[in-house]
Symmetry: C2
Subunit: 359 residues, 2 copies
């Protein structure tokens, strides 16, 4: 995590504000609430790159016409365990919560189900939706593709998105376990943050305009896949899997053929795909056995000896610790985002949320 | 790929030999043929670490009683799209081909299906089974856990297996696309090969007995997760997903609680889990659209500009090129494996396969 100047805001207050801002920008209530829920949830879990920082971008998407304010989303059950959701160019957040709900309804009977989401838009943190399934007692695998910002292994020009994979699992007696990871080493936003802080990038995570590996954030324009110069074919291979599930299985174009998210034609829909697989644990194993296997795994992993100054953690554990702090002390909003939100609030006549503290 | 002295053998001849050796070691015909098919298939695709090199290990597993020669595998359909295969401590290869077959039968109707395999054993290259599904027009995701040889992120002692993820997809007019990757940067076998060749290991792929990162193959005793010292939480996160799907969903213990594959109690069954998800493309999209999306992705990816001396390839492409060579010139068997096979053949009264050439 990067350090930056920030304002802290309580979660309900922040969620109310984001929803109101989107409503006043023209969104229908369901869309506004889905974006508010997902972005504030991501921020509450310290997934700052995909949290409220993106709200100004979503407001602009709405105002430019890229995202439809009142989409008519259509769900079609194409087989006992397969559904397709046509998101009608609405918010990806609304589409993804809906997809998970439909997947849960199917998997309740069939044990596993897939929902392919078509004609959607950027949905923020994929983990918001797998988490929603896990909170209802289901396991979930979620993926989304995006436009090209990651070079292929050995390549010079962006071809893949950061194409994340998320996996969430219910855990008896505690919050679900949540893995939510880009298939690049870092998100592009990290490059921008390092430009501001002046710190160099880690080795083998980014390339310059010529495709050469660089640690200079001012030279870096694209990312490398997870695994770096030698093992990047693994990150790129995972990105290919995500892209194919989100394109060939949804009918959308692959990531590199999508319109760029930022650029000249911001009124054009992005026509993204997402892909969700939902599993009902108790149709695989008796629930008591399932729960004890999960508990054993987590307890044994967390008890592992660690390097000096480190701790062995399960997926999502670092975010869970930050979450406790944010629950107690409010969610930090960086100053650039706060300023952008203030400008939008003034334009739309919204009351800014009350700040808990500024640091 | 490492270079080593080798013998080359034609595929049918090698497959016949491996099956006969296992039959004479006591395996039932179905198990012998499954092991022969999978190991020779992996070798034919240049997946040498998981190919015929492992045959002596499988013969020993049978002779020691770890793997049952005549298992009674039982498949139970637990929901419309979920099956459980109890492999009865038989060969993991036989169990995995069977699991994929059952998954294909379910997914033909339901669109997606999962098969959780319990009480199994080492199945070699996971890609053999996802490929079998793709050859029948289905897409597949396959995973297996294994005993602990990879340290967790920030940890000192092995906890995860190399826990591979495989994804295969039918491609109209060519071989299926096949991703088959460990969630560590390298397999443990690479360490042993480097001990023989004296070459140092790449940085941040292995640790010594104290858990310190090392590039000395003689000091290395365990692996690091994909992503290395800084981003290894991603490889470890994927390994956790694989381990949970192969344990909590199958009823097996997690990887670090499994009996070690090598050690003193080699007659004890390993009680491994595998996990397969099978998808039927044409229940997601009209097949013509699906095929054209896959073709576009592969053509656009393969046409990407590359670093000097490199080429941008799709998952499985490097192996496919090696496969063409092996089809023409025979499958290479390294000398250590050849010697071990010769010893076993002599003990069991098998005729060694004819060598095409020695180099």
């Amino acid at each position: 995590m990067e350090t930056f100047e920030q304002v802290r805001v309580r979660r309900p207050e922040l969620e109310r504000f984001v929803a109101e801002l989107l409503l006043r920008a023209g969104a229908r209530r369901d869309g506004a609430e889905a974006v508010a829920r997902a972005t504030v949830d991501a921020s509450a879990r310290a997934f700052d790159t995909h949290g409220v920082r993106l709200v100004p971008h979503y407001v602009e998407s709405l105002l430019s016409g890229r995202v439809k304010a009142a989409p008519e989303m259509r769900f079609t059950r194409q087989a006992a365990a397969v559904g397709r959701l046509d998101a009608d160019d609405g918010f990806g957040h609304l589409a993804s919560y809906r997809a998970v709900e439909e997947g849960v309804a199917m998997a309740r009977e069939t044990g596993i189900a897939a929902v392919a989401v078509a004609r959607s838009s950027h949905h923020g943190a994929t983990g918001c939706y797998t988490l929603a399934a896990a909170q209802r007692g289901f396991a979930a695998i979620g993926m989304t593709h995006s436009d090209a910002i990651v070079v292929p292994h050995g390549g010079l020009k962006p071809f893949n998105g950061t194409n994340p994979i998320s996996f969430a699992l219910p855990v008896a007696g505690e919050e679900p376990m949540l893995l939510d990871m880009a298939t690049s080493s870092i998100p592009l936003n990290r490059v921008f943050l390092r430009r501001a802080s002046g710190q160099p990038l880690p080795p083998e995570v980014a390339v310059d305009g010529e495709g050469a590996v660089t640690t200079d954030p001012h030279q870096a324009v694209a990312l490398m896949p997870l695994g770096g110069a030698e093992f990047g074919y693994k990150g790129a291979g995972l990105a290919a899997m995500v892209d194919l599930l989100c394109s060939a299985f949804t009918g959308m174009a692959h990531g590199a053929a999508l319109p760029p998210f930022t650029g000249t034609e911001e009124s054009q829909p992005v026509a993204l795909g997402h892909f969700f697989i939902i599993l009902r644990p108790e149709l695989f194993q008796p629930l008591a056995l399932f729960n004890s296997r999960v508990a054993d795994f987590l307890a044994d992993l967390r008890a592992q000896p660690a390097r000096p100054g480190a701790r062995v953690m399960a997926p999502g554990d670092p975010e869970r610790e930050a979450q406790a702090d944010r629950r107690a002390n409010g969610i930090p909003v960086d100053v650039a985002t706060w300023t952008a939100l203030r400008g939008l609030a003034a334009r739309k006549g919204c009351v800014m949320p009350a700040a808990v503290a500024e640091s």
